[in-house]
Symmetry: C2
Subunit: 152 residues, 2 copies
């Protein structure tokens, strides 16, 4: 019998991160689910559209809200391959995402367990449940491979 | 001779905030300028498009980057009527906005001089010059008027 495997949405987020790298974007992928169904997905794409806000999480949240016709995603889960930055953590708050799953921690740019620690601020209006670490090795390897290829 | 008057981009940002209120959105407006010219503008619009990320700053930054065909707005100024939240402060960092002017401080949701203090984090990759307070009275009055009308 197989051991524990990654949840399907994180497997998909990692595939999206690979697609980002193939497109010359920093490899980060994100998926929004609700009740087990995929509502929206995206990979990081700031270069493609000349859009500094086009992180995977922002794109996935915007697409999910549009798909559901509602500004709030209270009963949704966000799966992302990297610890969200301050911008994306703020968007998660505004969207009222119920549960956040992220793979690799990001000591340089992350704002969940590092830096601005957006959800830990006393003024923070909404705190998702946060689960970190699943898929971490693969997510980090994708990022390392991307940046080492660009430096060489 | 007239005394000091508000810079034109902040006057325009306040007019955009009024337009937001007229559209049923929280009254916040934003303008991006470069070398004295308006590159993009927006008002807060999360309800209109079912988009939790559609704060005035995010929309104005996205439009400016698209208009200039570049991801970074290093030589641009952002004028906004309210202290940016964590999401918008993060976007300002990613866009490398050179100067940030905001009118009213926001102790509840702001993340520049309150809460997450995004630009003050040691990991923060870019800090805009920040000028706060011009147009504050009008910006705050618009917000108070909007929320008191909705409570009554």
């Amino acid at each position: 019998m197989a051991g524990w495997t990654l949840p399907q949405p994180m497997i998909r987020a990692l595939a999206l991160a690979e697609a980002a790298a193939a497109a010359g974007e920093v490899p980060v992928g994100a998926v929004v689910t609700r009740a087990g169904a995929v509502i929206a997905e995206a990979h990081n794409a700031p270069r493609e559209g000349h859009d500094p806000t086009a992180h995977a999480e922002i794109l996935a949240i915007r697409r999910a809200a549009r798909a559901l016709g509602q500004e709030r995603l209270t009963d949704c889960e966000l799966w992302v391959t990297l610890e969200p930055c301050a911008m994306c953590a703020g968007a998660i708050v505004h969207a009222r995402i119920g549960k956040l799953y992220y793979a690799a921690a990001d000591p340089k740019g992350g704002a969940v367990e590092h830096g601005a620690r957006v959800f830990d601020q006393p003024q923070c209006l909404h705190r998702p449940e946060v689960y970190a670490g699943m898929g971490e090795a693969k997510a980090a390897a994708l990022l390392r491979g991307f940046f080492s290829a660009r430096r060489s």
